[in-house]
Subunit: 536 residues, 2 copies
Amino acid sequence: PKAVQKLSLPDEVSTELLDLLKENGFTSDQLSTDVDIRCRHATGHCLEDVFRIQTGEIGRCPDIVIWPLTEQNCFELVELARTFQWCLIPYGGGTNVTKALSCPPKHVDPRPMVSVDMRRMKKILWINREDGLAEIEAGIVGRDLVEELKKEGLTMGHEPDSIEFSTLGGWVATRASGMKKNRYGNIEDIVREVRLVSPSGVLSQNHHQSGRAHEGTAFGRTSIGTELKDLAIGSEGNLGIISSVVVRVHKLPKETQYASILFPCFEMGAKFMRDVARLSPALRPASIRLADNLQFSLAREISAGANDKSMIMKTLQRLYVGSWLRWKPESICACSILCEGDNEEVAFQLKQLRKILGKYEGIEMGASNGASGYEMTFAIAYIRDFALSQGIYGESFETFVPWSRCQALCDGVKRDVQAAHERRFLPGKPVISCRITQLYEEGACVYFYMAISGQGLSNPCDTFAAMEHEARESCMRHGGSLSHHHGVGKVRSCFLPKVNSPALNSWLRDIKDGIDKQNIFGARNGALSPDAIGVD
Amino acid sequence: PKAVQKLSLPDEVSTELLDLLKENGFTSDQLSTDVDIRCRHATGHCLEDVFRIQTGEIGRCPDIVIWPLTEQNCFELVELARTFQWCLIPYGGGTNVTKALSCPPKHVDPRPMVSVDMRRMKKILWINREDGLAEIEAGIVGRDLVEELKKEGLTMGHEPDSIEFSTLGGWVATRASGMKKNRYGNIEDIVREVRLVSPSGVLSQNHHQSGRAHEGTAFGRTSIGTELKDLAIGSEGNLGIISSVVVRVHKLPKETQYASILFPCFEMGAKFMRDVARLSPALRPASIRLADNLQFSLAREISAGANDKSMIMKTLQRLYVGSWLRWKPESICACSILCEGDNEEVAFQLKQLRKILGKYEGIEMGASNGASGYEMTFAIAYIRDFALSQGIYGESFETFVPWSRCQALCDGVKRDVQAAHERRFLPGKPVISCRITQLYEEGACVYFYMAISGQGLSNPCDTFAAMEHEARESCMRHGGSLSHHHGVGKVRSCFLPKVNSPALNSWLRDIKDGIDKQNIFGARNGALSPDAIGVD
Ligand SMILES: Cc1cc2nc3c(=O)[nH]c(=O)nc-3n(C[C@H](O)[C@H](O)[C@H](O)COP(=O)(O)OP(=O)(O)OC[C@H]3O[C@@H](n4cnc5c(N)ncnc54)[C@H](O)[C@@H]3O)c2cc1C
Ligand SMILES: Cc1cc2nc3c(=O)[nH]c(=O)nc-3n(C[C@H](O)[C@H](O)[C@H](O)COP(=O)(O)OP(=O)(O)OC[C@H]3O[C@@H](n4cnc5c(N)ncnc54)[C@H](O)[C@@H]3O)c2cc1C
């Protein structure tokens, strides 16, 4: 309701748009100018978005939301956009945390803004069981994709924490990473082919003999120059609409086993993680996460109440009668593990872990702790919205960091956030906690949670944004990357000049100019954002 | 000597070029207009190139060859090319088999052609042992790279059969694949960062805080939109000069073990390979290759003489007193295996293979046969040049094919080649043989050798080219891809319209137009070749 007040709804344009669309065969249930729906389509899941939805200060919204049903529909939309000068913004599940879906302000782009909601394009087009491939429409939501494939005894193995709402096309467009990447890879390892509806028409590769690709098409490793999928991955809505994706699918694993390990401190746990990362890929568990003491304690509080704490202490006591006293409750940290494969493989994986574990004084705590560690992750992902209603402003952010700088980064970012909080005389203490998640031989993804109290702040959301900006600077100063998997969008585009050489930033804009002269896909994310360009 | 006759050497231009380059700080030992050197720089290693070198019919050659010593030199060259309207063609080891280095004819591009030979840029810039990363100049030749890293106890693990001559930059530009890709990955898995000297300037990503990247920079998985390395990989000289590359390096493996397995027929061997491909990556040997009966017999003849044959038969007899008679010498095929890792890992890998082996009546033949299988591969790679001098025209070609169509493709291509040979009334019989090399869950690389006798043919090289064209068509008809690792260049660009949708082909040209408006990197490979465009 508040939203309506602050929105200036350009009704005239919508009517014109609506009429044009209907004339061109779009039915009214494929179109909406509803204010709430339009607000949702201008926002993602970052704190600012959630806050703005709550306060009604959305800024510019799409003039209309359209649900294409087919690739042909997408193609027609691009033609209409070209003819009538619209700006198209593809929409997946709206779970991005980068403001990728926000519309450029009117003075930057006066054209009608059209949100293209892909979620009705959700069919599995074909499955090739023998080769383990499937082509799936890009609008399918993660949760449905998992269900549909499960019915066939299959899995794609991509499980981002946002799987409830995010879509296949969104994963590709943001270069997503799932928690089981050790086993199944990141999205770029899973995707074999992308169809992209672009201003030049429908782009596809490997579409043999001019027909549409099918089960028998040679999808796999090729060397045929520039690959379409490499450009579609990470395109953040800038280049076109991803209409369908060919992905690797696998038989559901025979065995799934959880485990958990406690370490006396984060340093020990982090070294353990590094050693696990250096195991050959198949010897690593499908997923392994190390939570710092704060997250560990929080998880324990929330999941099992106070009893759990004493249970853990008792186990420690029993196991290490002589030495357990050295373990301080305020420094213990926990590793949650998920192994997948056939029996022998899972056993071999666990054996490898046990071999390393002793070196770092790790103690196995059993399967149930491991499983609840994962449940927690999903819970924590949505706690933020609840916290906000309690006046607590929180957000997660992530980075990739080489092993050599991992510990220093975790410590340094925490210290810098605390210092920034003090320097600003903010109320109470900040919450700043981290976990090590996706592993690579050369480094890992570190995932931070940061929260502050908004009590007494005149503009808590902006204060938080400033804190987050400082935290990102701290990450990068400590050797972390701009983003491991969230992407750039508009939130992090101001950092791009520190990442891309100036020539690269202009090169990327030249590419865009070459293939989308009218800027039909004008969402202006990443290198195309005014922040990255340095002008508005 | 013959070469000189057929070349019309544009001396005037060279003098002008030479003077300009010297004025701009290039020294005379960085420059050459020698005819032989220029011929070499216009050719690669495909049959036609080798033939043309022998007959002297090279076609257009670069006007000058330049050896840059630094990235700054490369940058200066691009500036000069822009100012004075030159066309630059980066040169690595000249081992491509795609005519990627041939110069466009004068009527297509009248500008001076400048070959940029990268082989004096061969320094290892830094090694970060802790994270397993190194930055290396792009002109380093494979063999030297292996030696240099070995001194440090390290390996990059990329071993194409052309490793003696091909360069790091060439691997990136052609999207190469080495025989140990099961363990270390293909070039795209190994490369973490590329610096590209482009018409827009020096492109680099992850170059933190505007400084040059160094040991401590966060090289690794990132989600920052379009990635420079994705565009550099497979660029085939079209987009700029790759000046240095950050790659993954690994400690040398503790254990290297060869093995070999015989199968009663190719079908059985191929099914075994498919099952191996479905093992988790680390359970697969670093390299595994299945040679068909012809290659197996050939290898045996060449490597060990006639004794070997009876030795193998005796082993079979000893092992399978009852059943060995079913094995026909003319259908036996052989699998060469190379395992790397620590002791336990290698043992576990071999154990996995032995578990599968029995299902397909495979018999282990021991380590020495495995090792000689690999030596053979390197030998075969260069037999072609010798054969040519004997009037035998031979060439290898490769494809990726999904498992479901692998056997049919191997059989079908052989049949089609034989039929084409008959249809053309060519002398004798063609040699057509294949092996299955790089494995993927969804399919494999199949590598063919084809040879014909040139006896009595008026234009044997063209005849062979026509045969090869038909063989490629056959590959694709049977579900194979245009190329698994050789790339497109100019030889295979005429097939691109069957692979890329028309919109994609024009999109790729639009990208090029956007970032290289003057077409400074005008070698016209892949989608930029006139064949792909359909006009000349
Ligand atoms: C609680 C929570 C947990 C999260 N956990 C993870 C995680 O574990 N791993 C991870 O990688 N990310 C995670 N994220 C971030 C987010 O879920 C991902 O970025 C996701 O990939 C976005 O997908 P989406 O379908 O929601 O896309 P949207 O948010 O709708 O869009 C994101 C961008 O992609 C573009 N886009 C979407 N669909 C298409 C299409 N079909 N064609 C072209 N462009 C398209 C949009 O234009 C936009 O630029 C999380 C987010 C939240 C809120
Ligand atoms: C006997 C033999 C065996 C082979 N085995 C394999 C194999 O196992 N696996 C495999 O993948 N290939 C193989 N090949 C093919 C060939 O070796 C590869 O394509 C190799 O990557 C080419 O590298 P090069 O340095 O020789 O490049 P070149 O032949 O010099 O150039 C190839 C292309 O790359 C471009 N290029 C080269 N260097 C740069 C640079 N620094 N910057 C920008 N562009 C550049 C050139 O302009 C050209 O377009 C084989 C070839 C032969 C003759």
